[in-house]
């Protein structure tokens, strides 16, 4: 089972990289066939990612939502899924290259930072044995994925100096904001049950709050003044950097109650 997980994850990484290259070539050469091939590679990558998640679920006997390794696998899968959904509904392919690079890099960190995790897992520690685990982590996965999509779209707008997809950036941020807000509240409910306090300024909580504030500011200004342009895009990208710091930086640099996450 460990080999299946490792191979599927590696295959997903490779396919996401290929997809990003094809998207890049397709944009620059304006060849529709290359863009179609990019979509096929992205779908194949998502399927490989799903295979890794399924194998992990069979191996552990529970949903893959309990540690950083499993979170990353879910994060990349949902990010690509959201992107494909976006591409289908908006009938545009902007942001594909950026999003695929982000997911490939995230999967790359699985091999760089946690290579031993493919075949190993630990049973749930007592604090994680809670009915709140699934809803708290799942909403965080969707929030992070929506922010990844927003950042990819914002990056393309910055590079192209074109703001025609501002509304899509706003929609992705809005969707992610809803999920992040729910995730923070559900996390608070869980923390109150497990640790006796719904807010303890734990580094993960604090940085989730900082991320939430950055996106709240963006949404307020966008909705009141129709904020567009490079500054708005930069804020969305900065928000995603904070998301990544909340995940990697807090796990590896700042010790806290979420050290398993």
């Amino acid at each position: 089972m460990a080999e299946i997980i490792k191979t599927s994850t590696g295959l997903a990484l490779l396919l996401f990289l290929i997809s990003s290259c094809l998207y890049g070539l397709g944009y620059s050469s304006r060849r529709e066939k290359l863009l179609q091939a990019a979509v096929i590679a992205a779908i194949a990558g998502a399927l490989a990612n799903l295979a890794a998640l399924t194998a992990r679920t069979i191996m552990t006997g529970r949903l893959p939502l309990t540690d950083g390794y499993e979170f990353l696998l879910c994060f990349t899968f949902v990010s690509v899924l959201l992107y494909l959904l976006y591409e289908k509904t908006s009938r545009t392919r902007s942001g594909g290259a950026g999003l695929m690079v982000i997911t490939a890099l995230l999967l790359g960190t699985v091999f760089l930072l946690m290579p031993q995790q493919h075949g190993s897992f630990t049973p749930l520690m007592p604090a994680l044995k809670s009915p709140w685990l699934t809803s708290h982590v799942l909403t965080a996965v969707f929030a992070y994925s929506a922010f990844a999509l927003a950042a990819a779209l914002a990056l393309v707008q910055l590079l192209k100096k074109d703001n025609s997809h501002d509304i899509n950036v706003y929609r992705a941020v809005g969707g992610g904001f809803v999920m992040l807000s729910i995730s923070i509240v559900l996390g608070g409910v869980w923390a109150e049950q497990a640790w006796g306090t719904y807010w303890s300024w734990d580094p993960k909580e604090t940085w989730a709050l900082v991320t939430w504030i950055i996106y709240a500011i963006y949404l307020h200004i966008y909705r009141s003044k129709g904020w567009k342009g490079s500054n708005a895009n930069l804020v969305v990208i900065a928000g995603f950097i904070l998301v990544l710091f909340t995940f990697f930086g807090v796990n590896y640099l700042l010790a806290g109650l979420h050290s398993y996450g």
């Binding site: 520690m125 969707g175 809803v178 719904y198 300024w201 909705r223 700042l254």
Partner: protein
Amino acid sequence: MSRIFHYTFKTFSSMKTGLVLLALLALFSAVGSSILPDRFYHHLLFNILIILLFFNLGLCTINRCLKLRKLLGAGKDLLSKVRQWGWLILHSGLMLILIGGMINSWAGQSGTVRLAEGEKAVIAEERNGEAVTLLLEAFEIELYDNNMPSQYLSRVSVFKGDQLEQQETIRVNYPLRYDGIKIYQQSYGSMVGVTLEAEGKVMNTAAVEGQLLNIPGSRWGVKVFKYVPDFDPSYGMESKSLQPNNPKIIYSIYQEEQLLGVGAAPFGERIEIDSNAALEFNGLKSYSVFKVKEDPGLPYAGAGGILFMLGVVLAELGIFRRTGDSSDRKTREE
């Protein structure tokens, strides 16, 4: 005077001020997470910032309520109206969460209680003239097949005066609730029985892990560092498993606060420090550590959390509409 008041009120209740305060909160929160977080977030200036944000949020919400009829007026479609309500519910929820937090910091109480099996302690002095006590009947660690802990269970009884009120098993994630008090499983440990001998005198005592005991009438001290149920030198101070296959106590000997040596001894083995001083570890008792708290603000924070989630969903409803957000923007500009 009234113009100054009006100007101040308008500035302080504006969204712009709110966003500046939010940005400051983000900045200071980020700084605080790496600089003495225990003190930083309790500093007066940080709390003033949160209070200012609370008032700004309140005034913004009141302003919005006053304009509600206009915001929900004719010409607005149902989705826009729902979003306006969502905005109000979301901000009201945030305020309730902050109110809950403030009530807790003013009137809430929290502390830890360490109980060995069979011990009891008062957890609330006054409940209708009688003290509430907690008795630990038994403590158990449930293990997985690989000997990792699966759950910590404390079987406890709650008494009011001499009257048994409640019997329950407290587990991680499943606190006990009694009359506004919540009791959480926080941690656990072992208390080691120690017999100390010096100058012909014998003393029996007990020590928690990490505790330093001075041997009376001598210059020696012994620190009961750790109980290791399955000692294996290749694992260092960590236990090979949680099963008591080779139980030993890791200890260190001190002479006037200077470390002289470290050792691992089984129960019942006499350890000679010198010709006049000796010690022996002779038993183990589990203890459980509980967090006991009363938070009168919790119902407000809980209600705030529900409103906040509901509000944020309603406020963002319709963001995927093809028409975009122009109607909402117009409303805000008004």
